[in-house]
Symmetry: C2
Amino acid sequence: MGNDLLILHGGGPTAVMNASLYGAVQAAKRSHLVDRILAAEGGSGGLLKGKLLDMRKVPDEELERLLYTPGSAIGTSRDALWEPEYEKIAQTLEELGIRWLLCNGGNGTMDTCGKIYEVCRRRGTELCVIGIPKTMDNDLAVTDHSPGFGSAARYMAGSVAELSADVQSLPIHIVVLEAMGRNAGWVTAASALAEDSGVPGPDLIYLPEVNFDEEAFLADVQSLIDRKGCGIVVASEGLHGADGNPIVKPVFQVGRSTYFGDVSAHLAQLITQKLGYKARAEKPGLLGRASAAWQSATDREEAALAGQLAVQAALEGQTGKMVAFRRLSTTPYKIQPELVDIHEVMMHERKMPPEFLNDAGNGVTEAFKDWCRPLLGGPLPQLASRNHWQAQL
Amino acid sequence: MGNDLLILHGGGPTAVMNASLYGAVQAAKRSHLVDRILAAEGGSGGLLKGKLLDMRKVPDEELERLLYTPGSAIGTSRDALWEPEYEKIAQTLEELGIRWLLCNGGNGTMDTCGKIYEVCRRRGTELCVIGIPKTMDNDLAVTDHSPGFGSAARYMAGSVAELSADVQSLPIHIVVLEAMGRNAGWVTAASALAEDSGVPGPDLIYLPEVNFDEEAFLADVQSLIDRKGCGIVVASEGLHGADGNPIVKPVFQVGRSTYFGDVSAHLAQLITQKLGYKARAEKPGLLGRASAAWQSATDREEAALAGQLAVQAALEGQTGKMVAFRRLSTTPYKIQPELVDIHEVMMHERKMPPEFLNDAGNGVTEAFKDWCRPLLGGPLPQLASRNHWQAQL
């Protein structure tokens, strides 16, 4: 048994996953207990292949850049592991002499994290396993929110505000913007905060928590056209009907992955074909989880804190836990970091609660906006708008 | 004849159209010659309906925000005008007592600007007409570049760099990103500068200046997959075959506008169906012309300068001219503003010259990057990358 620490990333990256890496590496460097600070290159698959990085060799300048670099600089993976691979991972960790393991990821990774913990306990491996929460989708259970979400939310609110300034100036169409988050609508919902920029926010928001009804959608849009002649619709990539099937058809299958058509293109076509009105579809896609330009300062700081606290917990001998955030107060915004049992988190998907959805099923409530606002990490830029001027001749 | 000035916006907005408005309004406010500073609300259609804004009533705080607000705060239009409407516009300008008219726009607007100038000359209207260049597409002739392009270029380069950091960390697919610019590839090409962030730039770039060849495209992508297993393709929305037809089919028609399917979705499907490899399609669309977060400081300053110089030229009695930028030097970057005859600009579309396109037809040259770089308005953020570390164990 050495005194080495290993960091492992899993799942899709976010705008602040590297900020957690920064927090963990810096905390480990400050401790006298830790010898090697290692990272698995490319997630669990990299670990199994013995692809390791020595994080003490990373230049200081590059470490500082981690705070503002989207993605996962040590790589990550989407490999679903088979039972025997957990044994193999435990064995590899033993051979490497790893004493502390930090797993940064979402639902799938916390499941991996919990299973590694169990296998190690069964084998009698002396290993402390701590999870660092990460998901742009915000679908991790138990914690108030997860690092990665605040930046995706800021991207969505800020981009929709900019789009709104554009649409206001040339009000000739409905723009349908597609947001990521297949099963949970948190990111899609965050677009509502665009209005904090001083321009109109999205006119209609469709979340996967609400069964999509084509007739109701077309009635909503017709009413919007009658009222304003233009507008912005934000829709989740995961919209589905009452039967649970996606509203877009699967386009093709590669391996275990099914590819669907774009929800935004589908909805824009519906508007044009059924209502005879101009509609554009936009889909920033991965840009929404990878934006450092719209990174939330609060998100970045909490991500770094989560990495740091995970190291501290592991060094104290804690294991089978994930760092979580409990919200003590919204105004002023106060959170309390805590450790939660990894089993409470594993594979529990967290969706938006009913009190955050409006009655019409096409928007969010003030309660959601109040909850979400502090996660954006400071006010959005204020945009000029002739609605503020009273300058008509 | 009064001493009033009128500002008119035409065509699709950009990230700095309001910065030109700011420059023009501030220059007019500083002059003792100008009485009313008016703006047509919603472009030429607004002018014909007598919808005017008194820009002296705009609060200072809002004026300052114009520098950082995308879109057109006074509105704009895409109305194609009929011959009799030019007479009507001239008559309206006479009735209003407008002495100076500034038209901010692209090819179509400069055509309008030139025609108003001609009608007024024929009628003997004493009016000075000056054009302010604006186009995210950079397809205006005579000038080295136009306000609006630098910010769209910075958005594209910066966003692709962030996307690259994401794709590097989870190298499981080809991402096809679609860029605006139907006939000219300047914005698409600017994605090449993503590499200035210290991460790999786009692997393949397809421009509308090159006839699209599906077989060559699939061979390019197969070779990319063989070499790297993942990568980024940037494609113009306006790709067409040797026959001049768009590579995507028209999906529907509304009025005079034809709507095409998305080029990015089409190319991603080709990759998946013909090569059996995972591919995602992203299309930020209007976000690329409306991004204040990626606004180029150089673009903003030049846009404001163009507005200011247009006012100065008009007040000096110049007419039938457009403000243009001549490049004196690239390193260091130096431009010389000048006035060009509006007839030289009208409806001449400027495409990328052959020396900016690579021989293989799937990328750009160093000469293009050198030309484009200073327009981004300062270095892109430097991103961390394990390619810089040499930290393998």
